[in-house]
Symmetry: C2
Subunit: 207 residues, 2 copies
């Protein structure tokens, strides 16, 4: 048990230490840092979180975090609407956008299939993806860009089985990324190249 | 430059990454974690910071962070008012309170003398401490509990010169703490012992 001279301080520290990877000491350091700043800092900080909390939504097309019903990427006229890149979460969208190599659309699964963590296909936006492709003549190719882990491979396999009924190319990003690496930590060159040299799935065999 | 699909998300991530030791990736991870929590979490979090921002004050006696003009320790009837322990900041108060070995009052300097960082005696609450001791018959001993670094030693020396005019015992916590260690990271046993075996300064010589 910690002894704080201020209940307000204690509450703020407790809130910070609820965050992943932030212990009590780090939380206290962060809160004391904020207290030392000019009076607007805490106001701006909590306002940013409040606004995020109240106004953020998920894009109804790609399920990415968005300010509007349709996200900036889905509503842009400069994106190639024949391509959909399937990713785990927004961090992968950011990573791929930063390569500057991809100009299609995305589909954010919201996770990957992981029986160990109790995450099954129903917990992801896979159904919504199938719905998005149904009767959609625009889309010519779906690219799987998931982490090259066992869970990523499982999800790739499940997605392939689910989507092979559609009349479109299904590809997976090139395994330029070392097996076992997390997508979001890959360097931009490797990640960019893995998008360019994506390999097409052979529908007659398993991926 | 990062590509975010949401300005609100971007703003929140930027606010988080202003905190010391928090990079862009960590900031994004923290914000995404908050978004995944139930809808009250962000509200509680920013409310805690807002309240801290609006209501926190510094105790007029010991200059510790406090909810009231007089902090809980200074206003407690169960503290030994004959002892004042001089510390750098609130983290040291928490560390000493956690030992359960000290029942006196504190004086929070708000830093230590560090010419390299441009912090001189005038930036600390040393004047206020001298004022607090002037004509105060209650206080019998002042204990210096600063980090055993060069800056801590400099501050000890300065404080000793400043306070030796007063008719009270001046002591320094036992050097059970290894030289060069930060006080707040000391283990509780060592820190508790260093308070019990504090050594009295000899007023006829230098500390």
């Amino acid at each position: 048990m910690e002894h704080f001279s201020s209940k307000l301080l204690q509450t703020a520290v407790e809130e910070f230490s609820r965050l992943p990877g932030i212990g009590k000491k780090t939380a206290l350091r962060l809160v004391l840092h904020m207290l030392k700043q000019d009076s607007d800092t805490i106001g701006r900080f909590s306002e940013a979180l409040m606004q995020l909390h109240k106004k953020v939504v998920y894009c109804k097309e790609c399920h990415n975090i968005s300010d509007n019903i349709l996200c900036e990427i889905c509503s842009s006229s400069r994106r190639d609407r024949s391509l959909i890149c399937v990713v785990e979460d927004i961090r992968d969208v950011i990573a791929i956008e930063n390569t500057g190599q991809y100009h299609g659309l995305y589909h954010v699964l919201g996770g990957i299939i992981s029986p160990m963590d109790g995450i099954g296909p129903a917990d992801l936006t896979i159904g919504a993806l199938a719905e998005r492709l149904t009767g959609n003549e625009e889309v010519k190719e779906v690219i799987f860009a998931l982490s090259t882990t066992m869970e990523g491979d499982t999800t790739n396999f499940y997605l392939f089985k689910k989507l092979k009924v559609f009349d479109l190319k299904i590809s997976v990003i090139a395994r330029g990324i070392a097996i076992g690496d997390e997508l979001e930590y890959a360097d931009e060159v490797t990640l960019g190249r893995s998008i360019i040299y994506r390999t097409e799935y052979d529908k007659t065999s398993q991926p």
